[in-house]
């Protein structure tokens, strides 16, 4: 069987004029006899099959007509144009941070910080300080914290919302999306902001951008009715929120499934090395005059129960709070915050966001003032 590999002559059955492939690496003798060295072309004209004007007209008219119909249909079903929360948008928020500004605030962390805290309200409550929303969906925020701790020009306030499995769990398992975001920011070129602004302009112009080709194809194959609801909202400054009343049952149950699925039998133990790694990042920021606040944001229902059973506060959060030099704030410490409910167990509804942020900032201001008086 293997002996047959040696036959590399092209098949000779095709009835069309053939283009001679370039001589192979092993056919040096042929080359030395002066046969063509590689596929050359005197000009592009000999490579044009024929005039393509009519095909282009059909393509452009067809594309425009289908996109117009799609846009009309999307808007009819209530979809509205919105930006995509990708690495470019994150990079734009990261680049917007003021260098060496002690008033600069960075919100870093997970989807909880992204959906529960409103950067505009946060800024207003902090006296108009610039706030960059850098929390990433599905991430732990640790890579962003590390990147900011290494940025000598960051001297402001960093609010880090931590989830127990992110900081107390396996820290070596770092999220690929978060790594992509941070790395793409570190290797950004001067064209990237221009590209991002063009994208944002286009995304804010057309509602069909909210449709995913992948979902569209999957819906066709699975005979699933298309999902026109748009519960997740994201603004160009990365302010985000969820209208849970618009969510599908799957979207509502996903964090619960995740919480239950990620609960293996052996209870975790506190890893001192994790706390040390976190502390070294905090110390780097504090050493140049910056401040760090570690925040625990709400989880309720089944997610909250699973979380509190697996990561009991007295064995994890309280130990961290006692050891760290950062200011800490746990939502359970303020009874006013207990009235907020997370419909999916992990994230607040958009309508609660402003009030929740206001109360959290009030608590944080108080904690920071106390720390300033008793360093």
């Amino acid at each position: 069987m293997l002996s047959s590999i040696s036959n590399f002559e092209p098949a000779t059955t095709a009835p069309v004029p053939k283009r001679r492939p370039a001589p192979s690496l092993t056919s040096a003798c042929e080359v030395d006899r002066g046969l063509p060295r590689h596929a050359r072309s005197a000009g592009p004209a000999d490579r044009v099959p024929r005039e393509m004007g009519r095909a282009w007209i059909i393509a452009l008219i067809g594309t425009l007509a289908i996109l117009a119909a799609l846009e009309f249909n999307c808007r009819r079903h209530g979809l509205r144009p919105m930006v995509h929360d990708d690495q470019q948008l994150w990079g734009l928020a990261r680049d917007s941070m003021h260098r060496d500004d002690p008033d600069q605030i960075a919100l870093v962390g997970t989807s909880r910080g992204h959906n529960d805290l409103d950067p505009k309200v946060f800024s207003h409550e902090m006296g108009g300080a610039p706030v960059a929303q850098l929390a990433i969906e599905g991430a732990t925020g640790l890579l962003v914290l590390d990147e900011l701790s290494r940025d000598e020009h960051f001297r402001g306030l960093l609010v880090f919302d931590l989830v127990p499995w992110g900081v107390f769990g396996d820290m070596t398992h770092q999220d690929a999306t978060e790594r992509t975001f941070v790395e793409s920011h570190l290797h950004v070129s001067w064209v990237t902001p221009i590209e991002t602004r063009i994208r944002i302009a286009l995304q804010l112009a057309f509602a069909f951008g909210q449709m995913s080709l992948r979902d569209f194809v999957q819906d066709r194959f699975t005979h699933r009715p298309p999902n026109w609801s748009q519960p997740y909202i994201i603004e160009p400054d990365r302010s985000a929120g969820v209208h849970w009343s618009l969510a599908t049952p799957d979207q509502l149950k996903w964090p619960q499934h995740y919480a239950i699925a990620s609960t293996p039998g052996v209870p975790p133990t506190l890893r001192q090395e994790n706390l040390q790694a976190l502390e070294s990042m905090i110390e780097r920021i504090q050493a140049r005059g910056g401040r760090v606040v570690l925040v625990s944001l709400p989880s309720t229902g089944i997610v909250g129960e699973v979380e509190h059973a697996r990561w009991p506060r007295d064995r994890f959060w309280d130990v961290l709070a006692a050891q760290t030099k950062a200011v800490t704030f746990n939502w359970m410490d303020d009874p006013r915050l207990s009235k907020f409910n997370c419909p999916d167990g992990s994230h607040l509804d958009m309508r609660d966001q402003a009030e929740f942020t206001r109360l959290v900032v009030e608590d944080l201001r108080e904690k920071l003032r106390t720390r300033q008086l008793n360093p």
């Binding site: 590999i5 036959n7 092993t26 060295r37 592009p44 080709l213």
Partner: protein, 472 residues
């Protein structure tokens, strides 16, 4: 600036618009040079100076070489030029690898030496334009071409943006004569150039980035956890990704050049329909394989110095070809595996290559499949992040090893469907060209295909990925 960006769309429209103005040819060439430098500066502006320096040095060295008659002087000039060009490439690309290898060898000898890692950024496209300057100098040295008199033409040859960053590796004898007379694409050429660009973008954005890459990434990020099923799926997905990514880039480049009236040679010719590995290398990255043949394999003696020397030359060429791809021993292993395939094929062919039944189509079809499968195995070294992952992947691909599923059934179906279409399409088109195949289709069919690709590009979401060959 990548071809798959909105910035490039605006950039291209402006440059093409300026090229169509009734300006002198010299002004148009200057427009293309400025545009190409701007295109290059979009990544890292200081490296524009490196590109310009390379143009200046090699242009004047080539003229000096051309004027000089004494062989010893000519050799000295060529050596100086090659030292400069290849030295720059070695410094930027291989300094880290050399240092790491040296440190590891010292550790093996019991000496614990910790070197400071060189913090160097690899200038984009340096591997490509270095090979172009080398081919120019060597051709002038061999008196195959004369030193080109116009510096503007030479600068354009080296910097022309459609081929600057990731090829095709253009030969001076092909490109420079095109700079003599005004190039202005006809309407049909622009239309076909845009078709090539659209097909290239579709290959890159939809097929490579949206279908193949997520599967390949998910498997190779967790390579040590992959079982047989996922290892094969991830590798097949990567074989498709690397083809669509690189062939898509080449097609965009050829199409963009065509819009300006320039012809670039083909870089791919349905490589996954190759029957045997010499056939594969006639069809895969043609501009690199022919470059290696002309400037490395033949100068080493090619196949004219006996069988043993031929095998050695093949291995050296493929190992260096592998190393060209990246500063890692994994790429050397990839090249070495291809070298083994080529030498094995040569041995088998010399014994049994003339048997008539080998020409029958079922046998050819079987051999093409076998070639593709063996090529897939080489991609493991190309994609894996380290040797341990690569060896684990190959082990589980060869021996059945069930583990938890990484790739979902839907993603697996999509990868296999696209791969089947790719292989069948390439098999049926292997002896023809895209141009010829297109000319047989009715216009409305082409129009619908273009419409489908445009719509897919408009509706595609997903992570932006750089072209794979940018890293080389």
């Amino acid at each position: 600036m990548a071809f798959n960006s909105f910035t490039f769309v605006f950039f291209f429209a402006i440059v093409l618009g300026l090229h169509q103005l009734p300006l002198p040819w010299k002004a148009k060439k200057l427009n293309l040079i400025v545009a190409s430098y701007l295109f290059y500066a979009a990544w890292n502006p200081p490296f524009v100076l490196l590109l310009f320096l390379s143009s200046v040095v090699d242009f004047f060295l080539a003229r000096w070489l051309d004027r000089t008659q004494r062989p010893a002087y000519r050799r000295a000039i060529l050596c100086a030029s090659l030292t400069l060009s290849l030295g720059m490439l070695a410094f930027f690309k291989y300094a880290g690898l050399l240092l790491l290898t040296f440190t590891q060898l010292m550790a093996l000898a019991g000496v614990h030496y910790r070197a400071v890692a060189p913090d160097l950024i690899l200038p984009l496209g340096i591997s490509f334009y270095t090979f172009e300057t080398v081919s120019y100098l060597v051709d002038v040295y061999r008196r195959k071409i004369q030193a080109w008199p116009s510096f503007i033409d030479y600068t354009l040859f080296l910097a022309f943006f459609p081929h600057l960053v990731a090829g095709p590796i253009v030969r001076p004898a092909d490109f420079l004569p095109q700079c003599e007379r005004e190039r202005r694409a006809s309407g049909a050429e622009i239309q076909w150039g845009l078709v090539l660009m659209l097909v290239g973008l579709f290959e890159k954005v939809i097929l490579a980035d949206n279908i193949m890459a997520p599967v390949a990434d998910s498997v190779y990020y967790r390579a040590l956890l992959a079982g047989s099923r996922d290892a094969w799926l991830g590798t097949i997905a990567f074989s498709g990704q690397v083809f669509f990514d690189f062939a898509g880039y080449s097609m965009c480049g050829i199409g963009a050049a065509m819009c300006f009236g320039f012809a670039l040679a083909d870089n791919f010719h349905f490589p996954y329909a190759a029957v045997g590995f010499s056939d594969f290398w006639r069809r895969w990255h043609i501009s690199l394989s022919t470059w290696l043949r002309d400037y490395l394999y033949i100068p080493l003696g090619g196949n004219r110095r006996g069988e043993a020397r031929t095998y050695a030359n093949l291995m050296v060429t493929m190992l260096l070809g592998g190393l060209w791809h990246g500063a890692s021993w994994r790429f050397v292993a990839w090249g070495g595996l291809h070298g083994c395939y080529l030498t094995g094929e040569r041995t088998l062919k010399s014994r049994w290559g003339n048997m008539n039944w080998l020409g029958r189509w079922p046998v050819q079809c079987f051999l093409a499949m076998l070639t593709w499968l063996l090529v897939c195995i080489t991609w493991v070294f190309f994609r894996a992040t380290d040797f341990a992952s690569a060896i684990h992947m190959i082990r589980v691909m060869v021996y059945r090893h069930p583990m938890n599923r990484i790739v979902s059934r839907g993603d697996a179906a999509a990868v296999l469907a696209v791969t089947a279409v790719l292989l069948l399409g390439q098999w049926f088109l292997r002896d023809t060209t895209l141009e010829h195949a297109t000319s047989r289709l009715p216009r409305w069919v082409i129009g619908c295909a273009l419409c489908f690709m445009l719509l897919a590009l408009c509706l595609a979401h997903g992570e932006d990925r750089a072209f794979i060959y940018f890293q080389f």
